[in-house]
Symmetry: C2
Subunit: 394 residues, 2 copies
């Protein structure tokens, strides 16, 4: 008696649940310390101490009904202003509170902006491999997902195919850099080319094509790599940010959208996104967390742990003969499976208590995602299993 | 370039925004203390001190990644179990954690359950006057809202019309008791009759009709009135609860859904609602607030303030000759306008710096909603304006 259109989700998710149950079963058989779960993007590094300190300070200082009460659906005005000023300082942009809508994480923000711009049948482009939830978010608003084939082995976006697949129905393009699942950071050169293509197509079709930049991993970049701020390259850019990874607050559901004043139909975009926040049932981003992150705008979790894990795992995997690019950002390793069947490889890995996500979940079979946002001693303990897996695949 | 279907919302909301701006304009002209805003359901009573104490205790006691990390999309298991046990104790129900899904407030919960059950064209019934956002929530999932005419002057649901409007396409009925905007509590007699009608219609059509009970005002009941717990009267009841009013935490977006085991298609309902939580972009209810409310299950804000306001305002309004029923719950007074034009009455009230919401916003013209969740000294100061309004309408 559930909706017919929900049935496919329930059937699909039983696979994920089965994997989760399998993990629990393995843990009960071999002990939790001998099961190596690399399947989740749940930060292992603690939030900066400032988060706790500021929450307590806020609770002791501000009136309770201010801390926990309703505010504008777009968020506390002083929080939005503080976020805007912080962005201006970091990226030499020119935002103010009108450009910022606080959201229930990046997932909430993406849903809000897609609700804002999509009519039934509108097309949204994403570059494989990409976060599988984008398919669901776009489907929520009756949009049509258009996937661009992976550009192997660089995993920079395939811009030729991109240009060929933009139509008069293209309403948005979603990019995610640093990327989940590949760890790739889109280069400035790539961004400049992409912006040029988008502008040409907008002119050709007389449309607005919004570039939605999903940026939960912005601060997780290594080796000094530059992560370009996209609003500076293309005026119809909308940024979706989350504090889930940068402050290790994924369960708190706190992030924001940036809608630049130069964007086409700016006032309607802001008004409609504010209304979408309300009518989709978010109402507003959690109030106390809004106030807390506004006090932690210059804080990030200690990413050296992820960086160390990255180097350790990369070295181990390549030494064992696995093929993977050294990721420049996020906390994922994207590994080519020895044969094309990523599901079989994931199953084989499980025999050695290693849990990965198959590339098929990211619209890119033949690869697996290994999330290295894990405890370092667990990572090291897992290496014996990686060795056995390599042997078994040889 | 926003979605065509969002345009009507933007146009509609400019009226609300105009009212909000008007309030600010009045405040700047006459001083904020001389503008009497009765338009918002934002609790004036502070949260119980236990909320603050438990948040600080949690921050000092639990590991940060447990406090702020991801958990099951349905919420922390121990929180769901604690909520279930608390309900069992209060209402002699028989729930466990499998029956509870933590949500981003009641608005989030309603969206989740509607996404779970509605296919395009499915009908949802509500009893006028009702919270206008229900229209938007149902439209989000391509459902069709069917309004039952108001039952004047009791504002108990009109059960004859209800029975006549149930069809084979009826997928859900939304009730809200204590009611926004009338303050009416549905009697046990009403609930029993309603359940009987629903069961007959389910048998007749061979369908499942879910009774969605939106209960943010459950604890706000006066004069010892009984608020029946609906799962005990009809097995296909789904409860949407929020801590927004009971703990004065509206900005924190924390609540839950109850899906009883007896409900038709129980397992699919729970699985699909958990998935809907994820794919709609909520992902999960804010983590720290989940942990906090689990420690405050026996707390409520001090409703005696609302009760005093209720009595003061009721006495004043009736003395002045206004027609209204004494509300038994929530924090709203539902007042008949001297002539049928509620918008004109709202405009007239504004001349005396009184801000109300017209009944039209609740699908019931000819009435206004006066929210008395306000500071008591403000309420008393406003009485002179009520007198002038009564005079002007005479």
């Amino acid at each position: 008696m559930i909706a017919k259109r929900m049935l496919k989700y329930v059937e699909g998710s039983s696979v994920t649940r089965a994997m989760f149950e399998e993990g629990k079963r393995l843990a009960s058989l071999y002990g939790a310390e001998n099961v190596f779960d690399f399947s989740l993007g749940n930060p292992s590094v603690e939030p900066p101490l400032a988060v706790k300190e500021h929450i307590i300070k806020i609770l002791n200082k501000l009136p309770p009904n201010k801390i926990h009460g309703y505010m504008n659906n777009a968020g506390h005005e002083e929080v939005r202003e503080a976020v805007a000023m912080s962005l201006n300082q970091k990226f030499e942009t020119n935002f103010d509170k009108m450009n910022i809508i606080m959201t229930v994480g990046a997932a909430g923000g993406l849903n809000v902006i897609l609700k804002t711009i999509l009519d039934a049948g509108d097309e949204v482009i994403a570059f494989a491999p990409y976060f599988g939830e984008y398919n669901n978010y776009v489907a929520n608003y009756d949009g049509i997902m258009v996937a661009i084939s992976p550009n192997i082995p660089s995993f920079q976006p395939n811009l030729e195919e991109f240009a060929s697949k933009i139509t008069e129905k293209t309403k948005a393009v979603i990019v995610n850099t640093p990327n989940n699942p590949t760890g790739v950071v889109y280069s400035e050169e790539t961004i400049i080319k992409m912006a040029k293509i988008l502008e040409e197509k907008q002119n050709k079709f007389g449309t607005a094509i919004y570039l939605i930049s999903d940026e939960p991993y912005r601060e997780l970049a290594y080796d000094g790599v530059k992560v370009p701020y996209l609003t500076k390259y293309y005026k119809n850019t909308i940024v979706g940010y989350s504090y889930s990874k940068s402050l290790s607050l994924p369960g708190e559901r706190i992030g924001y959208l940036v809608i630049p004043r130069e964007a086409d139909d700016f006032e309607n975009l802001v008004n409609a996104a504010t209304i979408a926040t309300r009518i989709l049932g978010f109402v507003n981003a959690p109030s106390l967390q809004q106030l807390a992150v506004a006090e932690c705008l210059n804080e990030t979790t200690d990413i050296t742990t992820y960086d160390t894990n990255r180097k350790l795992l990369y070295q181990k995997l390549t030494t064992l003969g696995f093929e993977c690019a050294k990721p420049e950002g996020a906390f994922y390793m994207w590994v080519k499976t020895p044969n094309q069947d990523d599901n079989a490889f994931v199953a084989k890995a499980k025999e050695f208590n290693l849990l990965f996500v198959p590339g098929s979940a990211f619209m890119c079979p033949g690869y697996v995602r290994i999330a290295y946002c894990v405890d370092q001693t667990m990572l090291k303990r897992s290496f014996a299993s990686f060795e056995k897996l390599a042997e078994a695949m040889a």
